[in-house]
Structure formats: structure tokens, C-alpha cells
């Protein structure tokens, strides 16, 4: 005999005359907003409108991937190009995005099946200690990364002779503006619209007139392999990994998938969304590297006016080699990359704080109903904005180290994600396959080794042991 199923909100009660009286579940405004989005998905599916369905279901994957093509990532790719030229790092970017697809697909799947965010699940399934550890890691790396995003906007704006104050104001105003809708769908579409301009890096790359034969050779052979300082190489390897897979992406995509209302029936489209995001992000990331490679042979990272790269004045240095147009496009790209990342990273902070405290954490709520969620969103951006106004900040160093720190803290987040994605009580038939597990574990080992190698080597150099 089957055990009695637990009572559900939608179970009806059979009245005396045999008719089923359906109870009215207490619908919150968040439910109402989400069900309106789901209504459109149902309609598109029922009428076989494939492209409409795809349009309705894409979002979290593309935003996570293009959001991670952020200011520090693009500076990191461009620095790699300027330091080593086109070679090993071009296919390495593709490999890291392939790793990102595996990790982000798990996030999307867990979010769609459980309808819960990563922070909430870790807290409930593993207890408050692990939950708050995860949220603490995230908030710390997010604030550091947000500083780097404001730095990227500042670098871009400084090309147009605008100062740090404008960068700080622009970032915070953007966050406040996009939060004002009270609908997840509206927020997602605004940020997606902005993220399209990540393609500016590809335009900048084309404008630097690279030798396409060299690009093709580098992609196929992954050579020449970079020489020079081992520590610099480790820094760039670690920061390139940190430029593609990070803790905030895990929090963001799982929570956004749940907030969007994805269900197990949408998993195929969720995968399309994640893969499309990775393809676009890899393409644009390679664009930043190729644009940066224009400086290779001109003194690389040491080239440019007034200590250009040390002050992270990448567009200024590019102007001298590839002209004003390419430099302008690159500068605009940096502003876009920083702006989109501020929105997505702030959102992941809001989700994590809301989920761990156990209060409303959805864009489908009003600011009054979800004040903690929106407060954390704006607060994180505000703290970072204030910090970049401090004069004499080491810009390039902050940008690169933000990614490295994310790489170092990522493996713990990934381990919990893998456990959750294998949790048959939660995931049922949608739990990880054996192949996914093998790949995911290999990714964790690889990222742990890269992060640890850089951390240990840097430390030993700092204390003059090597």
C-alpha cells in the first residue's frame, strides 16, 4: 500500500454533494507576478511557438555568463593578450567557459527543480553554519568584485575625461533604476538589453586589425605557450578561471531560475540559455584578449602614457597602437561590462542575504515587501561605490585579485552545488548523471589546484622563501 501523500495547497476537499471544492491558496503578489509569466510560457508551448518560448525562457544563463564577462574579467583577458599575445590563453578561455557550462547547468537544474535558491538550500540542507559560510564568502567576494566593477567603469569613463564620482553615481543610479519595476521579468529584460553591448569587445578586436591566421593558429594549437614569470602566469591562469566561473554566478543563476519560475519542463530551454550565454561570453572574452594583444610587441603591460596599464588606462594605451575608434569602443565596452556586472552581482548579494535571513527575496516583490532583498542589492553597490572614491587605489591589482579571490573560494561553493545536484530527495530523476559528476569533480580539482598554486607561490614570494 502506498503511504498517504502529504496535503498540498492545491488539493481539493470533496463536499457532501460529491463536488470538489478547490481551496483558495493564499496567493502572494509574488505568486501572481510569476504566474502571469508562466501563463505566457504555457501559451507559447500550447501553440507550438518555439521562438517565443525560447525568448520567454532565456535569461538567467545569458545574464550569468555575460555578467561574468565583467570589468575585471575583460581587463584580465586584455592584460593576458598584452602580456603574452595570441596563443595559449585563447583556447584556454574556451575551456574555462566549457567548465562554466557544466557548473551553471547544475545551478539552473537545481533552481528549476527545487524552486529554491542556492543560499536557501545550503542553509536548510546543511545547517546554518555552512549556509552562513557560503553567504559570507559570497558577500566578501561580491564587495571586492563590485569595487573592481566600479573601477572598470571609472577606467572607461576616464577615457572620456569623466571622473570617479561619475562612475560611482552611474553605478548606484543604475541599480536603483532597475530595481524600481517590482517584476523579475522587467529587471531581466533591462539587464539583457544592456548585456548585448558586451559585443563591443568583439568590435574592438576587429578594429585592431589582428592577423587572423595567428588567431586561428593560437586557437587550434594553443601555442605559443607563455614564458616569463611563473607567478605572473599563475596569476593570469587563476584570474582567467575566476573570469568565467565564480561563486556569485552559482548563487545568481540558481536563484534567478527559481525567481523566473522555471520548472523541470523548462530544463531543455534552460540548457540552451546557459550554452548560448557561454558561447557569447567566450566570443566576446576572446575579443577582449585579441584587442589587448594589439599592445603585445609594443611593451605589453608596460606600454602606454603615464604608466597606462599600471593605472589600468587600457583604452589610452590602445589608442596609441590601434587608433581612437578602437580605443573608444573598448572604453565603452568596459563601461557596459562594469554596469551589467554591478546589476547581476548586486542581485546575487540580495538573493543570498534574503535567502539566508529567510525573508522575501524576489524581484517580483515590491520594495516595501522585500526591503532586505532590495536593501542588500543597493547596499552592496553603495559600499563599493564609496570605496572607489578613495584616491590612489591600485586599480589593475584590485581588478586581477578580485578574480583570483573568486577562484580560491569557488571550490567550496562548487562542492555544495554538486552535493545538491546529486541529492535524490530533492532532485529525484533530475539528479546528476555519473558523467556530469566526473566532469564536475575534475573541475573542482583543477580549480582548487590553480587557486592554491597561485596563493602558495605568491605567499612564498612575498615572504622571500622562493
Amino acid at each position: 500500500m502506498n503511504p498517504p501523500s502529504p496535503p498540498s495547497l492545491l488539493d481539493g476537499a470533496v463536499s457532501g454533494d460529491g463536488t470538489i471544492a478547490l481551496p483558495r491558496p493564499p496567493l502572494t503578489p509574488e505568486d501572481e507576478a510569476r504566474s502571469q509569466d508562466r501563463f505566457r510560457v504555457h501559451n507559447a508551448r500550447r501553440h507550438g511557438r518555439r521562438w517565443t518560448l525560447l525568448w520567454l525562457l532565456v535569461g538567467p544563463g545569458i545574464l550569468a555568463m555575460l555578467g561574468e564577462n565583467d570589468g575585471p574579467s575583460m581587463i584580465s583577458y586584455a592584460t593576458t593578450g598584452a602580456t603574452y599575445g595570441i596563443g595559449f590563453f585563447l583556447p584556454f578561455i574556451l575551456v574555462t567557459f566549457a567548465m562554466a557550462v557544466v557548473c551553471q547547468e547544475m545551478c539552473m537544474r537545481v533552481g528549476a527543480v527545487t524552486h529554491r535558491g542556492y543560499g536557501q538550500l545550503v542553509l536548510e540542507r546543511f545547517g546554518p553554519v555552512w549556509g552562513w559560510f557560503s553567504a559570507g564568502d559570497l558577500i566578501f567576494t561580491n564587495v571586492v568584485t563590485l569595487i573592481a566593477e566600479f573601477v572598470a567603469i571609472r577606467i572607461g569613463l576616464s577615457f572620456f575625461h569623466l571622473g570617479a564620482g561619475v562612475a560611482a553615481l552611474l553605478g548606484v543610479v543604475l541599480v536603483v533604476f532597475t530595481l524600481s519595476g517590482g517584476r523579475y521579468w522587467r529587471w531581466e529584460r533591462i539587464v539583457l538589453g544592456m548585456a548585448v553591448f558586451n559585443g563591443l569587445f568583439l568590435v574592438a578586436a576587429i578594429m585592431t586589425r589582428p592577423h587572423w591566421g595567428t588567431v586561428g593558429h593560437g586557437l587550434i594549437t594553443a601555442s605559443p605557450f607563455p614564458g616569463g614569470s611563473f607567478n605572473t602566469l599563475l596569476l593570469l591562469v587563476a584570474s582567467t578561471i575566476g573570469a568565467t566561473v565564480t561563486p556569485w554566478m552559482i548563487f545568481f543563476q540558481q536563484s534567478a531560475s527559481a525567481d523566473k519560475g522555471l520548472t523541470p519542463g523548462d530544463l531543455r530551454h534552460g540548457r540552451y540559455d546557459t550554452i548560448a550565454g557561454a558561447v557569447f561570453a567566450a566570443l566576446f572574452g576572446c575579443g577582449a584578449l585579441i584587442a589587448g594583444a594589439a599592445l603585445f610587441g609594443h611593451g605589453g603591460a608596460g606600454f602606454g602614457p603615464a604608466d597606462a596599464l599600471a593605472g589600468a588606462g587600457f583604452p589610452g594605451a590602445l589608442k596609441l597602437v590601434s587608433g581612437n575608434a578602437a580605443a573608444t569602443v573598448f572604453a565603452l565596452g568596459l563601461i557596459e561590462a562594469g554596469a551589467v556586472a554591478i546589476l547581476t552581482i548586486s542581485a546575487s548579494t540580495g538573493y543570498a542575504v534574503g535567502e539566508c535571513i529567510g525573508v522575501a527575496h524576489s524581484f517580483n516583490n515590491s520594495t516595501r515587501k522585500a526591503s532586505v532583498f532590495y536593501g542588500a542589492n543597493v547596499g552592496a553597490a553603495l559600499i563599493a561605490a564609496v570605496i572607489i572614491l578613495i584616491p590612489g587605489a591600485p586599480l589593475l591589482s584590485i581588478a586581477l585579485n578580485a578574480n583570483v579571490l573568486a577562484t580560491v573560494l569557488l571550490p567550496v561553493a562548487l562542492v555544495f552545488l554538486i552535493i545538491l545536484a546529486n541529492d535524490r530527495e530533492l532532485m529525484g530523476q533530475w539528479a546528476n548523471s555519473a558523467v556530469t559528476n566526473r566532469i564536475a569533480v575534475a573541475i573542482v580539482v583543477f580549480i582548487s589546484i590553480c587557486g592554491a598554486a597561485y596563493g602558495i607561490d605568491s605567499f612564498l614570494q612575498t615572504v622571500h622563501i622562493v
Binding site: 498540498s8 495547497l9 492545491l10 478547490l22 483558495r24 491558496p25 493564499p26 496567493l27 502572494t28 509574488e30 505568486d31 501572481e32 510569476r34 504566474s35 502571469q36 508562466r38 501563463f39 510560457v41 504555457h42 527545487t114 524552486h115 529554491r116 538550500l121 536548510e124 540542507r125 546543511f126 545547517g127 555552512w130 559560510f133 527559481a258 519560475g261 520548472t263 529567510g358 591600485p394 591589482s397 585579485n401 583570483v404 579571490l405 580560491v408 573560494l409 571550490p411 567550496v412 562542492v415 552535493i419 541529492d423 530527495e425 530533492l426 582548487s448 587557486g451 592554491a452 597561485y454 596563493g455 602558495i456 605568491s458 605567499f459 614570494q461 612575498t462
Partner: protein, 63 residues
Amino acid sequence: MTAAEQQELVEFLERDQLVLDTSRPVDRMVLSGPVRAALWAFRVFVMVVSAMVIYAFVSQLVH
């Protein structure tokens, strides 16, 4: 909003997708001793490496 309208809206959501359902905590996972030890070891390892990265970064800034 009428009851009929509410019911219509609910039909587009899965039964475990409502806020009332997602607000109910899922059960705590029972971790075995070795798994707990492995998680803590990994956590300590990551904290040590993070401290090294931060120390090296701050040291570079100071000098």
C-alpha cells in the same frame, strides 16, 4: 481578485512553486562523519589559501 481569477493563476504554477511552499524549509541532510570531516578540511584549506592571497596582495600594496 476573484477566487476564479486566483485559481486560474495558480494553475500556471507548479504546486511546489508557490511562496507558501517554498517558504517551508526542506529537511536537514544527514552527513556522515567522514563527509563532515572532508568538508571541514576543504573549508580550512580554502581559508588558508585565501589568507595567503590576501596577505600577498596587501603586502604588494604596502611595498
